[in-house]
């Protein structure tokens, strides 16, 4: 009898586990398909199967350039050798959202010898991906000489402790914005609609005056 109960309990436990797991997998698929934000979090990463969801036509690398107070520049990279996790590219380059940059700066500067660093420039290097094609393939497919040019974009300026001082748009975003701003009509309309914060009208004062029926200046403060 006791054995039968134990067997039954185990089966129920297994059933609950199977049910729960299936629900979790379904939540991932449905959340991903319908782009429900509930699936776009840390736990969601474990059940959403969005392999190769993005792509870019340009390849990029991130450079960290440190500047000391004497105006000397240093390549801010691990002198002990950068870790290359998935091929021949340094780890810091896989950080597409630049979350790692402050920590990387702090870590390298903490563990290296250097004069007092004033600024660290985070520079994005970009080039069209077709130039990654090996020379042999290039000559058989492309008829033009392989004339690769890199474009540099100052992504951010940080302090020596990694704190952000200035942040600029990513090269891809900047390129997209430029292409839209290329339109004179849109440029004119955007210039005519500059955002501003009204300091002449104080909503709290206006609300107070409404409630007490003692408005003198109708909320206008300046």
């Amino acid at each position: 009898m006791e054995g039968w109960c134990w067997m039954n309990l185990r089966r129920w436990g297994a059933g609950l586990l199977i049910g729960g797991y299936l629900l979790l997998l379904s939540w991932g698929i449905i959340g991903h398909a319908l782009k429900i934000p509930a699936a776009g979090n840390t736990l969601g990463y474990f059940v959403v199967w969005d392999m190769f969801c993005g792509w870019q036509a340009f390849d990029n690398r991130t450079h960290f350039i440190a500047e000391d107070s004497a105006g000397n520049y240093y390549r801010l990279q691990e002198p002990w050798g950068a870790f290359q996790p998935f091929g021949h590219v340094d780890r810091v380059n896989y950080d597409v959202s630049n979350h790692l940059a402050p920590k990387h700066i702090r870590n390298v500067l903490t563990h290296t010898e250097h004069p007092q660093i004033d600024r660290v420039y985070v520079v994005q290097e970009v080039w069209p991906k077709q130039y990654n094609v090996p020379d042999r393939l290039w000559s058989s497919y492309f008829h033009e000489p392989k004339d690769q040019q890199s474009y540099f974009n100052l992504r951010a300026i940080c302090a020596a402790d990694g704190a952000l001082i200035e942040s600029n748009p990513d090269w891809y975003v900047a390129q997209g914005l430029k292409s839209i701003a290329d339109n004179p009509r849109l440029r004119e309309q955007s210039q005519g609609a500059l955002p501003f914060y009204n300091t002449f009208f104080n909503p709290r004062a206006a609300a107070d005056s409404n409630s007490s029926f003692s408005a003198v200046d109708d909320g206008l403060t300046n």
Partner: protein
């Protein structure tokens, strides 16, 4: 058949699907192969534990990327090294099936912890798959056969039942199978949501990316748009149909066979090495008792001996049997784990990842040429016209709206199709296609607006009434600048008479 009996039949078949009993040979193979593959990248990272996973380095937690803050504790270097050593030890024990469940529980949880600590250089979707499977192995009977535990149990058993293989419910194997059905279905949804996958652009750019290991075949495939378009449709059809075929008697051979071929192809096409082996080793969970018997018969016919493969577990079991009777097996596991932990801490100290002890002081930051540094910091160069284009080709066949072949020989009467592929992001462009003869005399000019959302532009050119046999160039111009040119030769009977030399042709 009434609704009630339908329901009963559904319940019975569901119960049979999850709770039928089999010898867990497939699961045992997953137990041996998957952690072995998952260990390869983790062993590579053993030399960088302090840098990647400790408070003395620069870990980047997965939760931080999602804006959920630092969910996990970042431990001091020696503690992180100790736990990392414990993880490696536990997973190796899992491979050999020594205290299998305990090993996978400890190893699996630490594997997830370390992966979540480094979302940039460790965590990938293959680690997610491995995490699922390691946890499933921790609650399964994967150590019931072909393991140290099984050998010890068999030797301990004196009532004769040890001769029979252990039979357990198949649900853990089913969970791995269902996981893969979900993975492929989800991957198909991702592709359906990406139109550029079907037109080949997404794959083309992935294939010429150098973010993984070398991929020479992928680079060649990138230059064949027709192949990319056909393979994208095949991939999606296979991914969507996988859940419907994987449990059919014959369909599973097709689903798993194409799957294995697809994953192996990604080694050469995308330079992925761990991902394909994580997936294909999990396919072993689809093996049933009958498959194992068939494989055994085949190996016997081929006179292939695999008895040696069992030697490590038999030797380990024999060694463990020599322990004093009062020491439990779990005690041996803990003792060995302590040795691994101490060894890892010592290794971390001796590896001296930052080279401070080795050099007697912190290493110096390398100086940089000031001119180069200033150029990089202050560079504002505009994108060259030719860098807005990936390629320019001429051909005659169109597939899914895109040029599918490349030709440089045409017959009079053929339609020449010229296509330029653009690199986004680009602004709205005015693109011209110019036909020139051998003396660079302009014969025909056609132009069109290419808006910023377009990834390619096509020009069709009817040769019949406009050209006479001879050699020509098709020149691509963007914003008035020549970007690229392709030669072609037109043969056949002339539809119009060739003008005399010196006369303008158009």
């Amino acid at each position: 058949m009434s609704g009630k009996s339908h329901l009963r039949s559904l319940r019975e078949s569901t119960e049979r699907f999850f709770f039928a009993e089999e010898s867990p040979y497939g699961l045992a193979l997953v137990r041996m192969c998957l952690p072995t593959v998952a260990l390869i990248p983790m062993i590579r990272r053993f030399f960088r534990v302090r840098e990647l996973y400790s408070a003395d380095g620069c870990p980047q937690q997965l939760a931080e990327l999602f804006g959920n803050g630092r969910l996990l504790p970042e431990l001091p270097g020696p503690v992180a090294a100790a736990l990392y050593g414990l993880m490696l030890f536990a997973l190796i024990c899992g491979v050999f099936g020594f205290r299998t469940r305990l090993s996978f529980l400890v190893g699996g949880l630490l594997y997830i912890y370390f992966n979540m600590l480094d979302a940039i250089g460790t965590m990938t979707k293959y680690s997610v798959i491995a995490s699922h499977v390691l946890l499933i192995l921790a609650i399964s009977n994967a150590g019931a056969v072909w393991s140290v535990d099984a050998v010890l149990r068999r030797r301990k058993c004196t009532d004769g039942t040890a001769a029979f293989p252990v039979r357990v419910p198949v649900w853990p194997a089913r969970l791995i199978q269902i996981l893969f059905a979900a993975i492929y279905f989800g991957a198909a949804i991702t592709k359906v949501q990406t139109p550029e996958f079907f037109s080949g652009e997404q794959m083309r750019y992935w294939l010429v990316s150098n973010w993984n290991w070398p991929n020479p075949i992928g680079e060649m495939m990138a230059l064949s748009p027709a192949f990319l378009m056909i393979s994208s449709y095949i991939t999606v059809v296979w991914e969507v149909t996988f859940p419907f075929l994987a449990w059919r008697p014959l369909g599973r051979y097709a689903a798993l066979g194409i799957g294995a071929a697809f994953h192996i192809m990604t080694i050469f096409s995308l330079g992925l090495w761990i991902f394909p082996f994580i997936c294909t080793t999990c396919y072993l969970a689809f093996l049933q008792e009958g498959d194992i018997a068939a494989i055994r018969i085949l190996l016997r016919r081929l006179r292939l001996q695999f008895h040696w493969a069992g030697m490590p577990r038999i030797l380990t079991a024999s060694l463990l049997e020599q322990r004093p009777a009062m020491v439990p097996l779990a005690g041996i596991w803990v003792l060995a784990a302590i040795v691994a932990v101490v060894g890892s801490v010592e290794a971390d100290y001796r590896l001296d990842v930052y080279g401070i002890r080795r050099h007697g002081a912190p290493m110096a930051l390398p100086l940089m040429d000031a001119t180069v540094a200033r150029q990089m910091i202050n560079s504002r160069s505009a994108l060259r016209e030719k860098d807005k284009y990936f390629s320019f080709d001429i051909g005659s066949m169109v597939m899914a709206g895109q040029l599918a072949n490349r030709r440089s020989q045409f017959e009079t009467g053929d339609v020449i199709i010229a296509q330029c592929n653009l690199n986004p992001p680009h602004e709205d462009l005015w693109v011209e296609c110019v036909i020139q003869d051998e003396q660079d005399r302009v014969i025909d000019v056609a132009g069109q607006f290419v808006t910023r959302d377009q990834l390619f532009a096509k020009f069709s050119y009817l040769t019949a009434d406009k050209l006479i046999p001879g050699r020509y160039w098709v020149v691509l111009k963007s914003s008035g600048q020549e970007v690229s040119r392709r030669p072609f030769e037109l043969s056949g009977d002339a539809a119009v008479e060739r003008p005399e030399d010196g006369m303008l042709a158009n």
